[in-house]
């Protein structure tokens, strides 16, 4: 006689009271395949934990965003935000689709060049550009976005010394009505600093002013804030035209569009609350189109979106190491990945699905990572089927920031696999090992 599938015995006290008007969230649907590739198969081939990226989803996201903006505005250019995910394979997918590169360090700049991006299609942002970075970017005709006066004067000096005429824009910070106000990057709009910087650049023989840039925040939930930002940048561009007789080539609204992840503390899931890209596109393009520029003067609209284009293309697969009951009766599940790999569990209540069919019974649990650290919590509270050692899980929407902000701490960082358009899998970053980890270490003579 065939035995019945086992499920851990479970009891729950029933509480009388008002029903939850939203009902209980169901997260029991197993995710056995990603883009037709078996989760179990990938874990058995590449080991656990494992990051998985879907090339199809990246391309779908990119093409969708481009379509949304290009159907509203004639000149649109996306620049892939390297810091969001700078795996070369990922960057190359975006570049194949037509995206430029947006980088914020010499390291990222070198990666973009290595990925075959032409210098004039690299946007160099951020407060940390040393002299050699600036010279290289200027020689490559890249778009240098000035963050502060020290950088501006360095660039003026370097341009004179090396006979360069870099193409530059300034980053502008402003009050768009959102909190927190990001005023640490760039020049302030309200107090006139941005205009002063533009004047200084416009009067310089060694600099070519080509645009204005802002990046008002991250995981922005208000399209209105982008309308304010677009209006302020248009005002600056209009001022440059009026005062210096020069039309700026582009307005760069930066990134910051959210993914549909659920922020910690949010009352409703991200899928219900996050505005669509259409809403952001409407807010931005309505302002620029209505500002008064002649049709042939309209600046190119540059967008540096990262998270919204990649988050739902990334998955983290893992395995249950153990389950236990805590002193207060709560169930605890220990997974083989934690904060070290899933950095974004500090920000989001990630959706986690079982990777195999389990029983219908569910229980509330806390999910811990494997690190011997109290802070290593993947989900503080989640309702899941009765998991047991060896069960596999799939974490959704992890494509943004995890593969760049992950930490090598206590354990190795996991490999990353790309599922291509034909559903073939490719390792795009190997898992780490002891040799890799110790490669840069040196032992002083007296300790040998």
């Amino acid at each position: 006689m065939e035995k019945i599938r086992y499920e851990r015995p479970f009891i729950i006290k029933m509480n009388a009271g008002l029903m939850n008007k939203f009902g209980t969230q169901s997260v029991n649907e197993p995710v056995t395949h990603i883009e037709s590739v078996s989760v179990k198969g990938m874990l058995s081939e590449y080991g656990s934990p494992l990051f998985v990226i879907s090339e199809k989803q990246i391309r779908r996201n990119y093409q969708n965003a481009v379509r949304i903006f290009k159907t509203r505005y004639p000149k649109v250019q996306f620049a892939w935000s390297y810091k969001t995910n700078y795996m070369n394979a990922v960057c190359r997918i975006f570049h194949q689709e037509g995206s430029w590169a947006e980088v914020v360090s010499g390291f990222e700049y070198s990666k973009a060049l290595g990925n075959g991006v032409q210098g004039n299609k690299i946007i160099f942002n951020g407060p940390d550009k040393n002299d050699s970075d600036l010279i290289l970017a200027a020689q490559n005709n890249s778009l240098i976005h000035i963050d502060h006066y020290d950088e501006l004067y360095s660039l003026i000096r370097l341009s004179e010394e090396h006979g360069l005429k870099p193409r530059i824009a300034i980053r502008v910070n402003m009050d768009t009505g959102i909190y927190p106000k990001w005023d640490r990057f760039g020049f302030n709009f309200e107090n006139g600093q941005a205009w002063n910087a533009l004047t200084r650049i416009a009067n310089s023989d060694n600099l070519e002013l080509v645009g204005v840039h802002c990046h008002i925040g991250t995981f922005m939930l208000s399209p209105t804030a982008y309308a304010v930002a677009a209006r302020n940048l248009c005002e600056l561009a209009w001022g440059v035209k009026e005062r210096f007789g020069k039309m700026l080539q582009y307005i760069d609204l930066g990134g910051g569009f959210p993914s549909t992840n659920t922020l910690k503390g949010a009352y409703l899931p991200g899928t219900d609350t996050v505005p669509s890209i259409d809403q952001f596109a409407d807010a931005i393009t309505d302002v620029i189109l209505g500002y008064g520029f002649k049709h042939d003067e309209l600046p190119t609209l540059i967008l540096e979106s990262g998270r919204t284009l990649i988050d739902d293309a990334g998955y983290l697969l893992g395995t249950v190491l153990a389950t236990k009951r805590l002193s207060d009766g709560r169930r605890a599940t220990i997974l083989d990945f934690g904060l070290n790999s899933l950095f974004t569990s500090l920000w989001y209540d990630h959706k986690i699905s079982p990777a195999q069919k389990l029983g219908n019974q569910t229980e509330e649990m806390v999910m811990f990572g494997p690190l011997c650290m109290n802070i290593d919590v993947v989900r503080e509270s989640i309702t899941m089927p009765l998991l047991q050692k060896g069960d596999q899980v799939v974490v959704h929407k992890v494509g943004a920031y995890n593969m760049t902000q992950w930490m090598q701490f206590i354990t190795y960082r996991p490999p990353i696999v790309l599922i291509d358009n034909d559903n073939n899998t490719h390792i795009i970053r190997k898992g780490e090992d002891l040799k890799y980890m110790e490669e840069l270490e040196q032992i002083p003579e007296h300790l040998v």
């Binding site: 035995k3 019945i4 499920e7 851990r8 015995p9 479970f10 019974q361 009765l386």
Partner: protein, 79 residues
């Protein structure tokens, strides 16, 4: 491991404690274990019965049963 005499149980896994007014719900295997416990049979027999019927490693079930028993005691279902 004896279920208190006043605890009302159903085959479907519903439990009611008339003394406290608390009610509980268990999954199918939990209900089956409680019904076995009500028969006052030794623990080893409970384990044998369950392991024979379900696809489970004996050591794993012993561990799960121990934890389940602790929960039942915590809810004052066991004496």
């Amino acid at each position: 491991m004896r279920v208190r005499k006043n605890i009302a149980t159903s085959d479907e896994g519903f439990l009611f404690n008339p003394t406290t007014g608390d009610s509980f719900s268990t999954n199918a295997i939990g209900a089956e274990i409680i019904l076995l416990m009500k028969k006052d049979i030794p623990t080893s027999e409970v384990i044998d019965t369950v392991c024979e019927k379900y696809d489970v490693d004996r050591a794993l079930f012993e561990r799960d049963l121990e934890e389940f028993t602790l929960q039942l005691k915590g809810h004052s279902i066991l004496e």
